[in-house]
């Protein structure tokens, strides 16, 4: 099997972000999606710590310690940006004003359930952040993750074993092996990443992949 690199995957997700959309990128790998949106599209990025209109990373020496994104990286404000406080920020998220959110996940189930905030390890303190607010309020939830865990165990499941972040909320999953939609019948194959066959991908997926 052939696995897409993180930046190849980010570039694939970016293809599906339409011109004129308001987008929230989850912390970690999803933040890289903004670097790959095709030229000519204006996409406006929301960061829950209080900015709509996240611009590119500042040049070295130009960083402003009070201008960061939710991943705590230094950012700039793009033309047309606005700052706001937290209650307003989550009104944008919960109130259905953001069009698309791209999130990482531990597990996604075939009915669209997502688990991405806590494991079953008691010693590992849970950290939910804004994930539960995003999944209930944003109409299109895109998940971007590895197809399997490091130990080879599946992440695309019949039902999640980890505590849920949200119920039946995921629209589409992008992995290093395939793109899958969540439908009333379960996962439906949209495309295989180059160099993979359906049989190979199904073999590392607990849930059934419909075609």
């Amino acid at each position: 099997m052939k696995s897409l690199s993180d930046s190849e995957l980010a570039a694939r997700v970016a293809q599906d972000i339409p011109d004129g959309s308001y987008v929230n990128l989850g912390i970690g790998k999803p933040t890289h999606v903004s670097g790959f949106v095709p030229e000519g599209r204006e996409v406006i990025y929301h960061s829950e710590n209080g900015i709509i209109g996240v611009g590119p990373t500042p040049a070295e020496g130009e960083e402003d310690v009070e201008l960061i994104d939710a991943s705590k990286r230094y950012i700039t404000a793009a033309p047309g940006a606005a700052y706001f406080e937290h209650a307003d920020s989550f009104a944008m998220m919960r109130g259905g004003h953001i069009d698309i959110a791209v999130l990482g996940a531990y597990q996604v189930a075939e009915n669209g359930d997502i688990a991405n905030w806590a494991t079953l390890d008691d010693k590992f303190p849970p950290a939910v952040g804004g994930a539960m607010d995003l999944v209930v309020g944003v109409p299109t939830i895109l998940v971007m993750m590895k197809h399997v865990n490091r130990d080879g165990s599946p992440k695309l499941l019949r039902s999640c074993s980890y505590p849920l972040t949200g119920l039946q909320v995921v629209s589409r999953v992008y992995t290093d092996l395939a793109v899958l939609d969540v439908t009333p019948d379960g996962f439906r194959l949209i495309e295989l990443m180059p160099g993979n066959t359906l049989d190979e991908v199904q073999a590392v997926t607990e849930a059934t992949i419909h075609t």
């Binding site: 310690v65 994104d69 849970p126 607010d133």
Partner: protein, 221 residues
């Protein structure tokens, strides 16, 4: 009316043991580092801290955790890169943790400041964080009843303030600061600069009615 306070030590002097304290900030921005350091010197213990994060490395809330001043943390994202003191205290069972979804945290604080007795949010419905809470289904959608979150004190960071307590902010440093100002009985803002002239009313983000004390602390860490 003059809400200016001469120094950080005076600003935190009234904070008592066991107080419930909101602390503004997200990541490294908008954190009242000066007030937190003053609180450490002041010595209050058994504090309940309400904040988004639980500090990182040896700064801010992490210092209060290291010096064992905190009994309970209410926050959305306690674990972050370098949050060693939180992890150490949590693993040793020395602090109580209440994890609240970030939007619910902001809205519970807003509700307290706005005199709302509770509210219904779809966030966390059907998850572990809704367990034991009242729920309702409205137009086919599930909601969780959440209660207001009050505090005795709020420690805030702003860019500029005036003697009436009006505040304005810089960049993404406002985050939880404005909403927390409204929810505490006594809110203290550490500002980069106290303006001698009144702030332009068009540019005030947090009206001074929500702020009880303003202290200048120019260092932007």
């Amino acid at each position: 009316m003059d809400k200016r306070i001469l120094d950080l030590a005076t600003a935190v002097a009234r904070i008592h043991d066991g107080a419930q304290i909101m602390i503004g900030g997200f990541g490294s921005s908008g954190i009242p580092f000066g007030l937190i350091d003053a609180l450490l010197d002041h010595g209050a213990r058994e504090l309940t801290v309400i904040a988004n994060n639980a500090g990182a490395q040896e700064t801010g809330i992490a210092k209060l955790l290291k010096e064992e001043r905190i009994a309970k943390v209410i926050c959305s994202y306690p674990r972050s890169p370098g949050s060693i003191w939180f992890e150490r205290r949590y693993e040793a069972g020395e602090i109580e943790l209440e994890v609240v979804p970030q939007g619910t945290l902001a809205e519970r604080i807003r509700a307290a400041g706005a005199g709302i007795g509770g509210f219904l949010t779809p966030t966390a419905y059907g998850t572990l964080l809704a367990e034991g809470k009242e729920t309702r289904v409205i137009d086919g959608r599930g909601y969780v009843m959440e209660m207001p979150l009050h505090a005795d004190f709020a420690l805030l960071r702003a860019d500029r303030g005036d003697k009436w307590g009006n505040l304005c902010f810089h960049g993404t440093a406002r985050n939880f600061n404005p909403v927390m100002a409204s929810a505490a009985k006594y809110s203290i803002a550490e500002v980069r600069e106290i303006s001698d002239a009144p702030l332009d009313p068009e540019l005030v983000v947090t009206p001074g009615i929500f702020v009880q004390g303003v202290v200048e602390y120019g260092v932007r860490p």
